[in-house]
Symmetry: C2
Subunit: 272 residues, 2 copies
């Protein structure tokens, strides 16, 4: 089954455009409690989300035990909910083949985030997987994103911002396939989300940066939705998945996810 169909199905079933990031900082979530923590967070939110997004960094930093846990966590996600590995990979073609295998086969992720800087041939090996998808880091949510991504570029014919040029190329990748192609569009700059949506038509948008990074939820949702009010999801990591040191963290996660989901749906048009 195509990744986009799994995502659409989960979004419809759970009436949700919320993705929960599973980003266990080792300072908050020790190795011993990692699997239990992830299990409890997922169990508390599995009817409220359309997908999960673990960020590779918080597992790599633990060494082999982290990689083992990451694989187990991905495999344990219930109800066919899609998993996006946030890893921002890409490399020369021969190496990208190994990265694609690592994400889709070794770890079993449904999709992976990729970094566009090295160009089409550094992403092509990921695109060869028909039932998987990539999310291209187009306009990221961090404060430093503007430094390169907002530069005015010209390819001799057109003049636009670099992130728009990336969105145009990502659309080509979507047309080539066979893998699915979504785009990362940070909530911290809704106007840029709107520009990306205008370029990429109906592709899925992954929208990080609400919560601690300060993106405005309502403005981000209004900018990110496609013509049918869908094909985007808002990611929340730290603001939903509280550390195990916090009392009743699973109940808190459920409450935060429920409230975020409702806030997102409230902005969307009522389906016909």
């Amino acid at each position: 089954v195509k990744f986009a169909e799994r995502l659409e199905d989960a979004a419809r079933r759970n009436e949700s455009h919320l993705c929960v990031g599973l980003d266990p900082d080792p300072r908050d979530v020790p190795d011993e409690s990692l699997l239990e923590w992830a299990h409890n967070i997922v169990d508390a939110t599995k009817d409220l989300v359309c997908c999960y997004k673990p960020n590779s960094a918080f597992y790599e930093v633990r060494g082999p035990v982290g990689w083992m846990a990451l694989k187990e966590i991905i495999a344990s996600i219930p109800n066919g909910l899609p998993v996006i590995l946030d890893a921002k990979r890409a490399d020369v073609p021969n190496t990208a083949i190994a990265y694609a295998r690592a994400a889709f086969e070794t770890l079993g992720a449904g999709a992976v985030t990729i970094s566009p800087y090295m160009g089409t041939d550094s992403v092509a090996p990921f695109l060869a997987y028909p039932d998987n998808a990539v999310f291209v880091c187009c306009r990221t949510s961090n404060a430093g994103a503007s430094e390169f991504q907002d530069l005015t570029v010209t390819d001799g014919r057109q003049t636009r911002m670099l992130f728009e040029q990336v969105a145009c190329v990502a659309l080509e990748w979507a047309r080539t396939g066979p893998a699915g192609v979504g785009l990362v569009a940070g909530a911290t700059n809704p106007e840029h989300i709107r520009q990306i949506r205008a370029i990429c038509g109906d592709q899925w948008l992954l929208v990080p940066g609400v919560g601690p990074q300060g993106g405005d939820l309502e403005r981000a949702v209004l900018a990110a939705q496609d013509r049918s009010g869908g094909r985007f999801f808002i990611n929340a990591s730290r603001s939903v998945a509280a550390p195990p040191s916090q009392a009743h963290y699973a109940e808190l996660a459920e409450g935060s996810a429920r409230s975020l989901r409702a806030k997102i749906e409230a902005v969307l048009p009522v389906p016909a």
Copy 2:
């Protein structure tokens, strides 16, 4: 000790500007022979190189066993030879902290390659390590590199190519420190190496792309050297580190490394 000093020391001691990439494709190097293969390649070349560069992808694809091996291989590099982890990382600041810890603390690499697209704050956590270094992917060696990296950009004041803009910002990172900052400049485009050298002064250049990728060794060396004829290294992976299925692969590696080292030194000015 600063990473750049370790690199300089190794280059002087072994009279070498050669880096050997340790990129064991699982199709050629099975898990069972991984440590022995790496040990034999390193043992055969340790007097002929200035550093080693394992690419993370070829270990990640193996799962936890690969990460365990990567850590062991890095720890086993003899004679204080520096190790650059080729991982092309960077992320939002909170996540980049975990990536920097993973590379420098968990895995024990001396330096790591980073992807510039997300900007200064996505790299800052790596720069906080005084005895480590980053190599910024500035102009990569793959065929698709030109797609974004060679676009003409303007920040409102200056007009240049994107990779030149990245080189300028990397120079700022070098001035800020305390970590060392080098730049990746692919051998497949010597003119671009020259432009990067002109911008970055005496920073170290990592030059991949000779061998299977087709870069011209002599032209790359002439473009990459700094005023003293140094502060660069040519990386060779597949053309030196043959797979264990090849008879006498360690002797072949020694021969290839010796010949490449000589070819590089032959182009350089004789030290005064």
